[in-house]
Each structure stands twice: as C-alpha cells, then as structure tokens.
Amino acid sequence: MSADWPLWEVFVRARRGISHVHAGSVHAPDPEIALQNARDLFTRRSEGVSLWVVRSSDITASSGDDRAALFDPAEDKTFRHPSDFELPDAVSHM
C-alpha cells in the first residue's frame, strides 16, 4: 500500500483585501489535515489571515512549450496600454 499522502497546493492571503497567493505545497491525507499542515508550514510568523488548499492533481497548468504561442501575441499590441496614446501635455493625467 502506498504510504505517501497526496499533494496539496497552499495559497495564503497575507491580509484582508488582497488575493490568496501560492506559497508552496504540503502532503496530507484529507482537506482538514492539509489545512493544519499548511498552517504549520507557511504561517508560523503571522504570514496570513486565510488559507486555501487545493489538491495538486486538480490544478491544470499551461505547458512551458506553449509559452510563446500563448503569451507572445500580446507583445505587439502596445495599443492596449495608455502610454501608446500621445495626448497634449495639458491632459497627460488622463
């Protein structure tokens, strides 16, 4: 019998108002222990006010091989940025 517990990804909200951010992973047999382990591993110094744990096997990730296909097309669309539109100095704060 496989002794190892499944892997869980841990997301920590550092304080109210900001998103949960990925911190790392823990092994645990169930969601409750995953939360306890995450708490012990990632928030021993008040790093967070809320935790999410997600089974790693439930996360679908993009492949590194697809990086260019996915993200390069945005590079030549500089008009998506406000700085692409030259305006008179008097309205530069727009």
Binding site: R16, G17, S19, F79, R80, P82, F85, E86, P88, A90
Partner: protein
C-alpha cells in the same frame, strides 16, 4: 478544524430575525469597515449587504457586456486597420470586465447563469447610457472620452470598496479603462484637428453624449435612495453629485483644449467654489430611459438575449465534448 469549500457554500450571512448572534456579528462587521479593512467572502455579513452587492456588481457586469454593443457596431467600419485593432481590443476588454465582475458576484454564492437570466428577463438592469445609438465614428471617440471617463470617476473609489473581491476586480478594470479613455479622447482630438465636417462630427457627438454621460452618476443626492446605507457599508465613498462635479471639472478644460463646446448654456466657472456650475439635468429623460423607453433599449436586449440563445448549442456541444473526453480517458485507464 472547520473548513468550507468555496463553491458549495454561501458566505455566512444573517439578519436580525435569523441570527441569534446578530448583534455581536454585526458589531465586528462594522468594526472591520470602520478600520478600512475588506470583508472577504468567508466572513459573516448582513444579508442586506450581500443582496445589495449582488445587485450592484451584477448591474455593473451587465453594463460591461451590453456596453460591447454600441461600440461593436463600428468594428467593421473603423476608419483604419489600426483603429480597428484598437477598437477590437477595447470591446474585448469590456467582455473581460464583465467576466471579472460576474466572478466577483459569484463569490457571494450566486451563479452567473442566474444573473444572466435576471438580465434577460428584465429583473436586473444595466447602465442606461448604453441605450443611446452610435450613428457616427465620432461616437466611438465620445464614448471613450466621456462614458469611460465618467465610469473611471465612479470606479476609482470602488477600488477601495469594502467587499474584497469587488475591490480587486475594480483595480484590474481601472488599469484597463485608462487606455479606453485616452483612445477616445485621441479620436476626438484627431477629428477636431481635421476638416470642417470632421469637426462638426466631433461636436455633434459631444452634443449627444454630454447629458447622458453626466446622468451616469445617478440621481442627485437629494433623490438617491441607497446612498446613506451604502456609504455606511463602505460600498460607496462619495456621493453622486460629488463625483459628477469632479467629472465636469476635469472634462470641461479637455473640451476647451480641442476647441469643442459643452452643450450647456448655464455652464460657467464659479471661482468661489473652485468648480463649474452647470445647468439643470433632465431627470425625466433619465427615468424614461431607465424604465425602458430609450432609443435602443429594445434593440440591446434583443441582441443580448439572441446572442445567448443562439449560442446555446455551442455551450451544449462543449459539455458533450468534455463528457466524451472524460469517458475516453477513463476507458484508456481501465
């Protein structure tokens, strides 16, 4: 240890009748708001705070996706390839803003499908500004400059709204809106520097969009029903009239700079207040358009409901495909 799953549970809410610990919960809730902290979806909140936010965020999301229509009308007729690429990017952003906002609403324990149904059956509204037509290219300039400008004025304070997911969605949206307003103003600037006919087009668009734009801030403070409760809850930080005045003060010099005239004979600088005085807003028109009698209400709704029902087979086919893939994977594993 207690835990919740995000999609299977509603935020813990309570009203005076349903929650025996209402007083203590409510006190802690108000303390967080007074300390300028954010309320997050797993926090306790009054039932009316939750329902108010669902209504407001949904109406905001509906406005974003309905707002694709007046501009979408010019995608095939933009005057250059560059203008077309820019307008496509902007309309795409509006769809994205709708999705950010529906996502924020869903953290309050309601499904996006239900919100769309409320829009399609007229139980929820969208901003009345999108019930005006876009007969000329200058309207695309006026929408970016005035409608997105007014939206930014309303939305920047929402980046500090007391409900965390809404505030975070607004931060993303405001970053993107800045491009929208600048591209609109630049269209107006280009037309204003062009031929007499182009200049007339720009002025005509300003004439038609000015009053509806300043109505976007909602009824005057004296007539606003939800204001004081929303202020107390940190959903709203400035009054409708305050934001409207800020928008007017910022926009009048921008019009002057490109030689366009704001269509308000009563508009004049008030040195004492350090602001512009402006004329009487036609609230009858505002109420008429909200009630459904604007120039394009029926067209907008027909298009929205049509897009949804005509797209049903795509959604169904995607689900059928996913089910087939899952079955195939299971078969291969067996």
């Amino acid at each position: 240890m207690a835990y919740v799953t995000l999609t299977e549970s509603e935020p813990p809410t309570g009203s005076e009748d349903s929650d025996p610990d209402f007083e203590a919960h409510h006190e802690e809730f108000l303390r967080l708001i007074d300390d300028d902290e954010r309320i997050e979806p797993t926090d306790w909140m009054p039932e009316r705070y939750r329902s108010t936010l669902i209504r407001q965020i949904a109406q905001h999301a509906h406005s974003e996706i309905i707002g694709m229509q007046p501009e979408g009308a010019w995608l095939t007729r933009a005057p250059s390839l560059r203008r077309k690429a820019i307008l496509t990017a902007k309309v795409q952003d509006e769809a994205g803003h709708g999705l950010y906002l529906y996502g924020a609403a869903e953290t309050l324990g309601i499904d996006r499908a239900e919100l769309l149904d409320r829009l399609h059956t007229g139980r929820q509204k969208y901003s009345s500004i999108f019930n005006y037509p876009t007969p000329t290219w200058a309207d695309i300039g006026a929408i970016g400059w005035l409608v997105d400008g007014a939206a930014i004025m309303n939305q920047v304070p929402l980046c500090r709204c007391s409900f965390g997911p809404y505030a975070r969605a607004m931060i993303r949206i405001c970053k993107e809106e800045s491009f929208h307003q600048r591209q609109g103003y630049q269209i107006m600037l280009t037309l204003a520097e062009g031929s007499d006919e182009q200049r007339r087009m720009a002025q005509d668009a300003l004439d038609r969009w000015w009053w509806p734009s300043i109505m976007m801030f909602g009824p005057s403070d004296a007539a606003s029903i939800h204001s004081s409760q929303n202020m107390r809850w940190g959903i709203k930080r400035f009054s409708n009239d305050e934001l409207r005045q800020r928008f007017i003060d910022a926009t009048v010099p921008q019009a002057e700079l490109i030689g366009l005239t704001i269509p308000d004979p009563d508009l004049r600088w008030n040195a004492e207040r350090g602001s512009y005085d402006y004329g009487q807003i036609d609230w009858d028109e505002f109420n008429r358009v909200i009630a459904g009698d604007g120039p394009c209400n029926a067209e907008r709704m027909e298009r929205r409901v049509g897009a949804h029902s005509e797209g049903a087979w795509v959604r169904e086919a995607a689900i059928a495909h996913a089910a087939k893939q899952t079955a195939r994977t299971a078969e291969e594993a067996a």
